[in-house]
Amino acid sequence: MSTMHFHLRLWKQKSGTDAGQFIEIDAKEIPSECSFLEMLDIVNNRMTREGKEPVAFESDCREGICGTCNMVINGVPQGPGRGAACQVYMRKFENGQTITVEPFRVGAFPIVKDLVVNRSAYDRIIRSGGFISEHTGGAPDASTTLIPKPVADAAMDAAACIGCGACAAACPNSSPMLFVGAKVTHLGILPQGQAERKSRARNMVRTMQEEGFGNCSNYYACEAVCPANVPASVIAMLNREYIRGELSEAVGAID
């Protein structure tokens, strides 16, 4: 087992109203097979033993599927490589490297403490249209609703979104269009999602704006960091769906 040494710059901020600043920590003797979060655990344990307050960060599954851990490592939301921050391993860094860890800098994600941000804005976007009004009940026969394989695959690719917020964090404009596009695509191309199809994109985009997110400039930074590999083509679908929905409403079209 080899150990490594890092120079950390970690963001400390007491609360959303506090100014916050970086603290500099020399993280010595970190096992190279540690994940990034395990490294932070070690650093936090040492700080606790020294009577200092540890750096707050969120995590849950620690296997890259829940989207809870979110931080910006050396300017990259969710850290280098594909996957969430918990999937980043210390062996990927150079020994002695300076690593800067910041929270997501998105106005619509207010900072709670240190690296923890409140991503409820994404929940409110989902509540405004990212659902289907299907009644639950006895499972229908699988052959009742036929879905071509390419459509099912594309819907699954979009549904892979874990709502982690990295797209808005990576976007120079803090735009969540990859997240919104993923949901609009996932539900919009499946038969079950047709009932709300016209209003879905319209309502989700309106909520997105009300929450104070920015607008897409087709930079594709979102696609580069998305831990779920959601393609930016979902944004093209969202653009199409939105205009269709808005025009339908404007002219009073039912279908």
């Binding site: 800098r105 120079p172 735009s175 309106r206 704006q209 009300e210 920015g214 199409r240």
Partner: protein
């Protein structure tokens, strides 16, 4: 449901929601962008008549002038496109700035291209150039002598005016710089409009991006070839006037 998200930042209700929405305004920018790109291509093809000699270029210029009122319809249409294109971009940009109140300490450009990041700078420089360009060749404000130049057929001698102006390295230099920035603007703009209008897919996007780059390069090389040819002495006028319309 979304009523819980009460906010004063609601899209304005007095105008058609499309024009206050994020995506609606981007559509306007994309659609006006298409018209402006088509104008740029048409303008380039017309300008290339300079390589066919003074007669061809002056005939082309006389043909444009003969359009009369139609010319003004086109001009006003283009001005409206420019105003909408810039106005909506500025309103979107202001929201984008407000959406990130605190910047990152460490910046990684990720997969963003330099063309995309320089859109505002390239666009506004091209706007400044267009105003200068109109003042130089349409209003003929820098060199009042231009107005009196006529060729053997009695047409305005546009060929002589253009060649004379481009003999000044500063005029040619600014022109080449401006069309270079125009090319950068279009390489992102052309590829981007397919995404904004939603007429692309995972498979098609790389093709649109490469296509946008190729078209942008062709437009740049096409425009830049004119001052370059004048500076290299490949396109000449008689008599050669050393006077620069800016310097003299």
């Amino acid at each position: 449901m979304s009523s819980e998200a009460t906010s004063s930042k609601k899209p304005c209700g007095c105008c058609w929601p499309i024009f206050s929405s994020s995506i609606g305004r981007k559509w306007v920018v994309a659609l006006t962008g298409i018209i402006l790109v088509l104008f740029v291509i048409g303008h380039l093809l017309g300008n290339l008549s300079i390589f066919a000699g003074p007669d061809a270029m002056n005939a082309y210029a006389a043909f444009l002038k003969s359009a009369g009122e139609l010319l003004w319809v086109v001009r006003i249409g283009l001005i409206i496109c420019v105003v909408l294109h810039i106005w909506f971009t500025i309103t979107l940009w202001r929201e984008n700035l407000a959406a990130r109140p605190q910047k990152y300490a460490v910046k990684d450009h990720l997969s963003t291209t330099v063309y995309a990041r320089l859109m505002r700078i390239s666009g506004l420089t091209v706007l400044a150039f267009v105003i200068y360009h109109l003042a130089q060749f349409t209003w003929e404000a820098f060199n009042p002598d231009y107005k009196g130049w006529v060729d053997a057929q009695g047409r305005h001698d546009v060929y002589r005016m253009v060649v004379t102006a481009f003999q000044c390295p500063f005029v040619s230099g600014f022109y080449i710089l401006a069309v270079g920035l125009l090319g950068m603007h279009l390489s992102h703009g052309i590829a981007s409009l397919f995404q904004t209008l939603g007429i692309t897919s995972k498979k098609m996007r790389p093709l649109f991006e490469q296509g946008g780059l190729v078209v942008a390069w062709l437009i740049f090389l096409g425009f830049a070839s004119i001052p370059a040819s004048v500076l290299l002495g490949l396109v000449k006028t008689t008599p050669v006037l050393p006077a620069c319309p800016l310097c003299h």
